[in-house]
């Protein structure tokens, strides 16, 4: 049984088949990339996995359990976290609060309990502080100290991307879905991002599924790649196999895709 597996998944919008009878498998602790031209259906796959979209058919098996029909919050508690292509941050909150929200599921204080928050000995305060320490570790890890107390809407784009990554990491997921984490970043920021994604897998042992347009990055980081077009798979394999595949190259209009 694969760690994560998609069977015969289809999702359409009106007449448009965004994902069309798709199959793939991801092994534990793998960095697995999904590539394809604009509109190929990559983000739609993520939206199906995390329960935002209801596919018409197919199975999504995570550690052997079918996720179809579960709500996004249930999928998060099953151990799957994600980031969004077009940032979905809590804009009017600070970096700290955004990442603290990633701890929501592991915190348990009830409405009655949180009323005692201002007392140091209260259960709610103890819980809050315990998770706060965890969040400070993430802030350290992603070097977000200077952004900690700022409202995220005031942060530069690259930092906002990191806050979103930090928030997903705070869930301590088993599977992390990253939708174009390097889009819009500077060269330097992108190199840091590669470094962090590798660390996330190597140090934290988290399995990563990555959607990315930057082929250099994909080549450098992925264990295996799935290329899709029109919601259908073109091929799956190692970076060399996939990026050199004639149909993949054709899908990208014959461009030298390592330069895309």
């Amino acid at each position: 049984m694969a760690f994560f597996q998609i069977d015969n998944l289809s999702k359409s919008f009106g007449g448009l088949k965004a994902v069309d009878q798709l199959d793939f498998q991801v092994q534990e602790k793998e960095i697995f990339s999904i590539i394809g031209p604009n509109g190929a259906g990559k983000s739609t796959i993520f939206n199906c996995i995390n329960g935002l979209y209801k596919p018409e058919q197919g199975k999504i098996l995570f550690k052997g359990n079918n996720l179809i029909g579960r709500r996004p919050d249930q999928i998060a508690s099953a151990g799957i976290a994600r980031t969004f292509q077009n940032l979905e941050l809590f804009a009017h909150m600070t970096t700290l609060d955004n990442i603290m929200l990633g701890r929501h599921l592991s915190m348990k204080a009830s409405i009655a309990a949180v009323l005692g928050l201002s007392f140091k000995r209260s259960k709610a305060a103890k819980e809050e502080l315990q998770h706060r320490r965890k969040v400070e570790e993430i802030i350290d890890f992603l070097e977000l100290e200077s952004a900690r107390d700022q409202f995220v809407s005031n942060l530069p784009y690259g930092k906002q991307k990191l806050v979103e990554l930090g928030r997903a990491l705070a869930l301590e997921p088993d599977l992390l879905l990253l939708d174009e984490p390097a889009a819009g970043l500077t060269q330097e920021e992108r190199e840091d991002m590669v470094f962090w994604i590798k660390d996330i897998r190597d140090l934290l042992g988290i399995t990563v599924i990555l959607i990315e347009h930057n082929m250099q990055m994909v080549q450098n980081i992925s264990d295996r790649i799935l290329a899709i077009n029109f919601g259908k798979p073109i091929t799956t394999g190692t970076p060399e196999e996939v990026l050199g595949h004639p149909e993949v190259i054709r899908a990208y209009l014959g461009e030298d895709i390592t330069q895309v």
């Binding site: 919050d73 998060a76 009017h92 929200l101 929501h104 009323l115 928050l117 802030i139």
Partner: protein, 349 residues
């Protein structure tokens, strides 16, 4: 650079520093000494301000922090008020009547929250508006609730304090208001308050990090209504008499004006908005007594601003002030307060 602050509890404690503690203590002392210095009339005004603070705290939680809307909060206040009166008449001690009013109203809040799961924006606004109107209509038809004539509110036994009734009542209201402020503050700093704000800023992301949208939206409606119920209970007490017309649609709007004027999503804003608007509502009534200008406003109001021919000068002046706030200081009085603070910190540079 590693984080030097190791005692994160500093971010949770009620008072940031000694200075804040000092000023809070001064304010508290002042509030508690007041009944010995001022006339009952002024205590009544402070009572009204305090009750509005409690409603505003709850409404702001729903609107400012969770991003939902309610045009029917007067309905919740009514439910709280009538529950208290019924229970007091049945001989239930006040403290239980108060708690029950909060809980019963909270339950109605959860029920009204159910459509919010499907409805958004203007549709939710209409649903809550209909709720507010329905509450007073139904009460007006119930004989055991006094119908449209209303009911007297039994006095509660506060003789043991050794103070005059009005004074004791003032203390009851002030203490509960302070507790409400602290409760709101702790709630907002907690995982639950954060979840509310997450829903407001991005419901997609909120659900993706594990927040059950249904549950937390209903929590927000329930808690918001709970506060309105408590406020209604207190309001009934110090008015001594209630009838359905007190809880009109205009009152619901008034509550919204308070939080917009004060500052959406801010506790300081709720408090300042309630105090200032309560005061304005009283003062604006007197604007018509100003020579010439007062007459002009009165004529203007009677000719153009009302369908019934009754003048409503104070209302359109409030509306005018609100428009100015939205245009020039969207964070409301709270925003003004922040700027003043920053200004004085920098002064005299």
């Amino acid at each position: 650079m590693r984080n030097l602050k190791t005692d994160y509890f500093e971010d949770l404690q009620l008072f940031k520093d000694g200075l804040q503690l000092f000023w809070s203590a001064v304010l508290l002392l002042l509030l508690f000494a007041l009944p010995f210095f001022v006339k009952t009339y002024y205590l009544t005004i402070i009572n009204l301000m305090a009750v509005n603070v409690v409603v505003a705290l709850g409404l702001n939680l729903l609107v400012g922090n969770t991003g939902q809307i309610s045009l029917g909060h007067a309905g919740f206040v009514a439910i709280g008020a009538y529950t208290t009166v019924l229970l007091l008449k049945a001989g239930v001690p006040f403290i239980f009547a108060l708690t029950a009013s909060g809980l019963v109203t909270g339950l109605f809040g959860v029920l009204l929250g159910i459509p919010s799961l499907k409805l958004e924006g203007p549709y939710l606004a209409i649903a809550t508006l209909a709720f507010g109107l329905a509450v007073t209509t139904v009460i007006g038809r119930m004989d055991f609730l006094g119908g449209r004539m209303g009911m007297n509110v039994p006095k509660i036994s506060l003789g043991w304090t050794g103070l005059k009734y009005d004074q004791s009542l003032y203390y009851v209201i002030i203490i509960i208001t302070i507790l409400a402020v602290i409760a709101t503050r702790n709630l907002l700093k907690s995982r639950i308050g954060r979840a509310f704000q997450a829903i407001r800023d991005s419901d997609i992301a909120a659900s993706a990090i594990g927040i059950n949208l249904t549950k937390y939206k209903l929590y927000s409606f329930g808690i918001s209504a709970f506060f309105a119920g408590i406020a209604g209970s207190l309001w009934a007490l110090y008015l001594g008499f209630i009838n359905p017309t007190l809880f009109s649609f205009i009152l619901s709007i008034n509550f919204l004006v308070i939080i917009v004027l004060g500052g959406l999503g801010s506790i300081t804003g709720s408090v300042m908005g309630a105090i200032v608007l309560t005061y304005l509502n009283l003062q604006l009534e007197d604007v018509v007594e100003i020579p010439i200008l007062g007459d002009a406003l009165l004529r203007f109001s009677e000719l153009f601003m009302t369908a019934t021919g009754v003048s409503n000068v104070s209302w359109f002046l409030t509306g005018f002030i609100l428009i100015l706030v939205v245009l020039f200081e969207p964070l409301g009085l709270y925003g003004l307060w922040l700027r003043t603070k920053i200004y004085w910190k920098r002064w005299p540079f």
